[in-house]
């Protein structure tokens, strides 16, 4: 495996619901190599989305450490995490979550607004990202004017526009038809192969998982199987 860019050590995450404490992750340890495409699978409630959120810095662990690149993100404050996410993580959501009042161009530009870039630099990066997902001719369209597959492609452009260390995707094909899902997975493969992006994808779909290099199976908050994907 190439040099680990994500290092998870003895990770615990608990939630309290009323008087009950639910241990979602129980001492999970994991390495993800640089430029690796990893799929997380498991039944509902197994903790895969929680793990993804923790690695992406959207939540803080109850115990254990998470390092991404040089940064120990489990020790960061909320505002430090926000700044770190802007530079180092790109997100792809199942339901795209594009801002409906902004055009495709403006949606992709959003994360760049937080970086010290000139207007021209931003424009160049947005156009490059949209070109990569094949939507330069749709950049002035609002999300409502795009198909599901196109919206997800905009979502991918938004995730990669900042040239992040890591791309996390939560069920990126869950809301798409087979053809669109295939296009999205192909795009993710391109991101990994051509741009050496590290991708962690949560999915329920074995076909989608088969496009990854490695599949991790989670159950009850623990890693039960770590295999190389069949399709690779």
């Amino acid at each position: 495996m190439p040099r680990a860019i994500v290092e998870v050590r003895d990770l615990h995450k608990s939630f309290t619901r009323g008087s009950e404490t639910i241990d979602v992750l129980q001492g999970l340890t994991l390495d993800v190599g640089e430029g690796e495409f990893l799929a997380l699978m498991g039944p509902s409630g197994s903790g895969k989305t929680t793990l993804l959120n923790l690695i992406a810095g959207l939540d803080r662990p109850t115990a254990g450490t998470i390092s991404v690149g040089e940064n120990v993100i489990s020790d960061m404050s909320e505002s430090e995490l926000a700044r770190w996410r802007t530079r180092h993580v790109g997100f792809v959501f199942q339901f795209y979550y594009l801002l409906p009042v902004l055009t495709a161009y403006e949606n992709v530009e959003l994360p760049l607004l937080l970086l010290p870039l000139t207007k021209e630099q931003r424009r160049k990066q947005v156009e490059t990202a949209l070109d990569l997902v094949g939507l330069t001719n749709r950049m002035d369209h609002r999300p409502g004017q795009l198909s599901g597959g196109q919206q997800q492609r905009v979502g991918i452009a938004r995730a990669m526009v900042t040239d992040p260390t890591l791309i996390v995707a939560d069920e990126p094909t869950g809301d798409l038809d087979t053809k669109s899902a295939d296009e999205i997975l192909r795009l993710m493969e391109i991101l990994r192969a051509q741009l050496n992006k590290t991708i962690i994808m949560v999915t329920h779909d074995p076909k989608a998982a088969a496009r990854a290099q490695r599949i991790l199976h989670l159950e009850k908050g623990q890693l039960v199987l770590d295999t190389a994907a069949v399709g690779v």
Partner: protein, 479 residues
């Protein structure tokens, strides 16, 4: 008010407090309804202005590319997302600002008329104990003599006799049988030449307005029976300038006045009333029997303009001296305190307007805004979470929510204040015999500030809730 004839004013227990309360309540309901209608009518204008400003911010954002300008642009776009909610927020703020601008105008108006002037202030002489004040007509000359000869020279009025004015109120009806409000005429009976020099609210006349009044005064001086009447009253009486009318006295029973209407008053000046020559009343009184009930009551009050407070205090002592005036005794007070005494009866209403109604309305509107904005925040919770995921700081998310509300508040407050200022200013409404009732220009500043303030306060809670959105929770719920 001082000297208003009994038929036209309260005696003893003042039932007008209930009338006024009812009038104010009715006015408030009417004003809210009117503001609501105007708000609805101006909704397209609001969205048009919103659109224009958005285009400007779009250009600014496109040109500068600055983060703040992009954030403002997102705020504008957010407002267009739910036109119904934006409209309701606008309407609530529009109505609130309109009503409060109106209340502010009334309170400012009252503040102005009751404010003491440091120098060159006016004083009123009235009956010492009886309201409405009715005193002997002979007191007028006696008082003038006291002022012009009894006061030390440096304390005398700067313009001599021209700074002293008598007022008698004459009310009558053009119909001797059916005396109704629409055929009644209320007049200030005084020396015509003092209309422009002593009456309040006539110091801002335009050239044409001054010519109209001067022309009327000249005719009144030449003809004792000549009168000038406001245009609105002429219309109500269905008479015109040049016509002769008979007025059957209301507070001067059995007295029939024969007037010639020689002119009208400029718009917004002493609406609903008229001016007649004092000499004509004196002449008619002479024709009445010596025991006629108004013979010793035909003077209601005397005005005097003094150079300073010392002169006022000196003259006040002389007026209080029973050697000068004892039957009936009279008193002198500054005009503002005189008006203030009259308003004393209504102080609870004014207090209520200022310290209960206004805060209550602001509080209610804050809750209305809070409700509207929090619905928006709940609907867009996921969107707020996505912004945070992308790296937006909690303060950015908070600014977006506050900014949208504040933009609506600014526009709604600004439009309400402007329309009130423009609309009420042109209506030339009048309270009692004061000059035209206008919205102070300061309302153009306070209106938008109020809109912004209420929108800010109302949206603060929802904005804090948006700021504290926990990303993982939001997506866990969505999944």
């Amino acid at each position: 008010m001082y000297g208003i004839p009994q038929e036209m004013g309260p005696v003893g227990f003042d039932p007008s407090i209930f009338l006024l309360s009812g009038y104010l309540l009715g006015m408030l309901v009417g004003l809210i309804s009117l503001a609501l209608v105007v708000g609805l009518v101006t909704l397209p204008l609001f969205f048009f202005v919103l659109f224009l400003i958005e285009q400007v911010s779009r250009v600014v954002a496109g040109t500068t590319g600055a983060f703040v300008s992009k954030l403002v642009l997102i705020m504008f776009r957010g407002l267009r997302r739910s036109p119904l909610r934006t409209s309701l927020t606008y309407l609530a703020l529009f109505v609130l600002t309109t009503v409060l601008v109106f209340l502010y105008t009334i309170l400012t108006f009252i503040g102005n008329v009751t404010a003491e002037k440091e120098a060159n202030f006016k004083a009123i002489v009235t009956h010492k104990t009886v309201i409405p004040s009715q005193i002997k007509p002979g007191y007028y000359n006696q008082f003038k003599d006291l002022v012009l000869n009894g006061l030390p020279p440096d304390m005398r009025p700067v313009n001599g006799e021209n700074d002293i004015m008598s007022w008698s109120f004459v009310g009558g009806s053009t119909d001797p049988i059916n005396k109704r409000p629409d055929n009644a005429l209320f007049m200030f009976c005084m020396e015509p030449q003092k209309i422009t020099t002593m009456m309040d609210g006539l110091d801002d006349l335009t050239g044409d307005e001054k010519r109209i009044i001067d022309d009327g005064i000249e005719k009144m001086l030449a003809n004792k029976q000549a009168i000038v009447v406001s245009q609105s009253r002429l219309k109500k009486l269905n008479v015109r300038v040049g016509q002769k009318i008979k007025l059957y006295g209301l507070n001067y029973p059995d007295m029939i006045f024969e007037f010639e209407i020689v002119g009208s008053l400029p718009d917004g000046k002493y609406e609903g009333v008229g001016f007649m020559n004092k000499d004509y009343l004196d002449q008619l009184l002479k024709t009445m029997p010596a025991d006629y009930l108004m013979q010793d009551k035909a003077l209601n009050l005397i005005w005097v303009r003094l150079p300073n407070k010392m002169a006022f205090e000196r003259l006040s002592a002389m007026v209080d001296d029973p050697k000068n005036f004892n039957s009936p005794p009279i008193k002198m007070e500054t005009a503002s305190s005189g008006i203030g005494s009259w308003m004393e009866a209504y102080k609870d209403i004014f207090f209520g307007m200022k310290y209960i109604l206004t805060p209550a309305m602001v509080g209610i509107m804050c809750l209305v805004i809070a409700n509207a904005i929090s619905i928006g925040v709940r609907e867009r919770r996921t969107e707020m979470a996505v912004l945070k995921v992308l790296g937006f700081q909690p303060r950015h998310v908070m600014a977006l929510v506050l900014g949208e509300a504040v933009l609506v508040g600014l526009l709604a407050g600004g439009m309400a204040a402007f329309l009130s200022w423009f609309g009420i200013g042109n209506l030339k409404m009048q309270i009692a015999f004061f000059g035209a009732f206008i919205v102070p220009w300061q309302a153009l500043v306070y209106g938008p500030a109020l809109g912004v303030g209420v929108a800010f306060l109302g949206s603060l809670g929802p904005a804090l809730s948006a700021k504290n959105v926990r990303v993982a929770e939001v997506f866990a719920r969505v999944a």
